[in-house]
């Protein structure tokens, strides 16, 4: 088994095919999208492949250490930051192919007109523990 992070971006991913903002969909389309996401998570849970899923607020700040005895410096948010993570799903699957397959399914969530969004998702393998048998 191997763990993968499926990353969804607010910004920074290539534009999806069906690129209409969610508040311009019809209420039924919004409903269908939410149902699709819930169903997919439930299905992965029942197949024993779901680890975690979280959504992030678009608001955030940059923070860094500013020296002994000083409070950390905060800055931003920067409108020009290219990459903005919207959320993630962590899965534990048998193969790389399976991870790609599931990311593809997630990307097919319905959007405007009930058509798949074709949203780009980033798939990142977790660095693993060193295996016991290495030769």
């Amino acid at each position: 088994m191997a763990k993968y992070l499926l990353l969804k971006h607010y910004r920074g991913a290539p534009a999806p095919v069906n690129n209409v903002p969610m508040d311009e969909w019809s209420p039924d389309e919004v409903e269908a999208h939410i149902r699709f996401m819930n169903d997919l998570a439930a299905r992965l849970e029942s197949s024993g492949e779901f680890i975690d899923g979280q959504a992030l607020s678009p608001d955030g700040v940059w923070v860094r250490y500013d020296g002994e005895g000083r409070p950390p410096v905060t800055d931003g948010p920067f409108a020009e930051t290219k990459d903005l993570i919207a959320g993630w799903m962590v899965i534990d699957v048998d193969s790389y192919e399976r991870a790609i397959e599931l990311a593809g399914e997630l990307s097919a969530a319905p959007g405007a007109g009930g058509k798949p969004i074709h949203e780009w998702l980033e798939v990142r393998p977790f660095l693993t523990e060193r295996p016991t048998v290495t030769q």
Binding site: P21, M22, D23, S26, P27, V30, I34, R35, N38, A55
Partner: protein, 386 residues
């Protein structure tokens, strides 16, 4: 007679306070009580002993002695603890109450006080508490043992008071529920217990009433898929009339004691909502009056925001928007309220934009989805009329 898990947990604070009153240190005594609970579950099987409290006290005390012995053996010290428990008085209500105060010690952070209260007073296991707050069990175990060390160090000299205990229970209630433990029901159980111990503060009754009134509406507030149903759209036939009736009775008794406080005022507002058979029959004028009262106790942006909604219902959208203008720009959910009031005022385009903003800035997924639906609904209407 079979004692169920909740009945068993009812006994926890009494058992723990007996151990502490016999001189056991709080941290070890608490572990010993947990140990006794685990043994009770397997030992009692189909039938519980005639005196469950006595059984738990005896077993917890032995567990405490074992723990103390092995700890002192590790330190190569002499065993000085008697095998027989010293004759201790039956736990009094004051002892149990002191336990509540200890777990809400002002030196504890709120998350620690919550965890310690659920374990030491509520009798939940670390695993159950961890599941309820969606953190790993080892993290919760560390949080609880740090909390116990803090409390032991700070001593019993200046524990919390009824006010800090109520804040902790309110936090537990507000967290809702996840995992196999219903935190809202647990908070109600503990607040009910607290109300039985404290007879000089109607705020405890106010808090209990507030919880009962909100809990009574829970089934209609959230759909099975987790989505939010606004108050106006709730199916009131699904409300738990028994809980609501109890909440109203408790609130009336509290108000009758003529010592008004924040929780009683919040409960009064909840009672007015619960009292309306249809949303159109809500007594908004009186609700605004209670919000004015609430401002005297807690002048916070959130109270002002909620008051603006009530003003919008009582005196019309323009009045609500005027009240909203005085609310801090940065308070969460302000845009959602602004959207609602502008929609009510007939400014649909502005309302749709504000709903979309509210979705972007929503503090929870359920709210984000809800605000997105609102924006989608208005945008669809606008398109149809174009």
């Amino acid at each position: 007679m079979i004692v169920d898990a909740v009945e068993l947990r009812e006994l926890v604070p009494r058992v723990l306070s007996v151990l502490v009153s016999r001189g056991a240190d709080f941290a070890t005594a608490e572990d010993a009580v947990q140990e006794a609970l685990i043994r009770a579950v397997s030992a009692w099987g189909d039938e519980s002993p005639a005196d469950p409290t006595g059984w738990l006290i005896t077993v917890a005390w032995r567990a405490f002695l074992d723990m103390t012995r092995s700890a002192s053996a590790r330190r190569n010290r002499e065993l000085r603890v008697d095998t027989e428990p010293p004759a201790g008085a039956i736990p009094s209500a004051d002892d149990t109450l002191r336990l509540y105060f200890l777990c809400a010690h002002p030196d504890l952070t709120s998350s620690s006080a919550v965890a310690l209260t659920l374990r030491a007073v509520g009798g939940l296991t670390t695993r159950q508490i961890a599941q309820a707050y969606l953190v790993p069990e080892s993290t919760m175990a560390q949080r609880i043992s740090r909390a116990k060390r803090t409390v032991s160090r700070a001593g019993v000299d200046r524990p919390g008071d009824v006010g800090t205990v109520m804040r902790v229970l309110y936090l537990v209630f507000n967290e809702g529920y996840s995992g196999d433990v219903d935190l809202a029901a647990e908070a109600i159980r503990l607040t009910r217990q607290l109300a039985g111990l404290v007879d000089d503060d109607p705020e405890v009754q106010g808090l209990l009433a507030l919880m009962l009134l909100h809990h009574g509406r829970r089934r209609s507030r959230i759909r099975s898929d987790g989505s939010i149903v606004p108050l106006a759209d709730q199916d009131r036939s699904q409300w738990d009339t028994e809980l609501i009736a109890e909440g109203i009775a408790v609130e009336q008794a509290a108000l009758g004691r003529d010592q008004l406080g924040e929780y009683q005022v919040q409960a009064a507002i909840a009672a007015l909502h619960a009292d309306a058979p249809r949303v159109e029959e809500t007594d908004w004028v009186q609700i605004v009056e209670w919000y004015d009262e609430l401002l005297r106790f807690a002048d916070t942006p959130i109270v002002r925001l909620n008051r603006a909604v009530a003003v919008g219902e009582a005196d019309g959208a323009p009045a609500g928007l005027a009240a909203l203008a005085e609310v801090d720009e940065h308070v969460p959910r302000r845009e959602a309220v602004a959207a609602y009031l502008h929609e009510k005022n007939g400014d649909l385009e502005l309302a749709a934009r504000l709903y979309a903003n509210a979705a972007r800035n929503a503090p929870s997924l359920a709210e984000r989805d809800h605000q997105t639906r609102q924006a989608a609904r208005l945008n669809q209407d606008l398109q149809r009329h174009r």
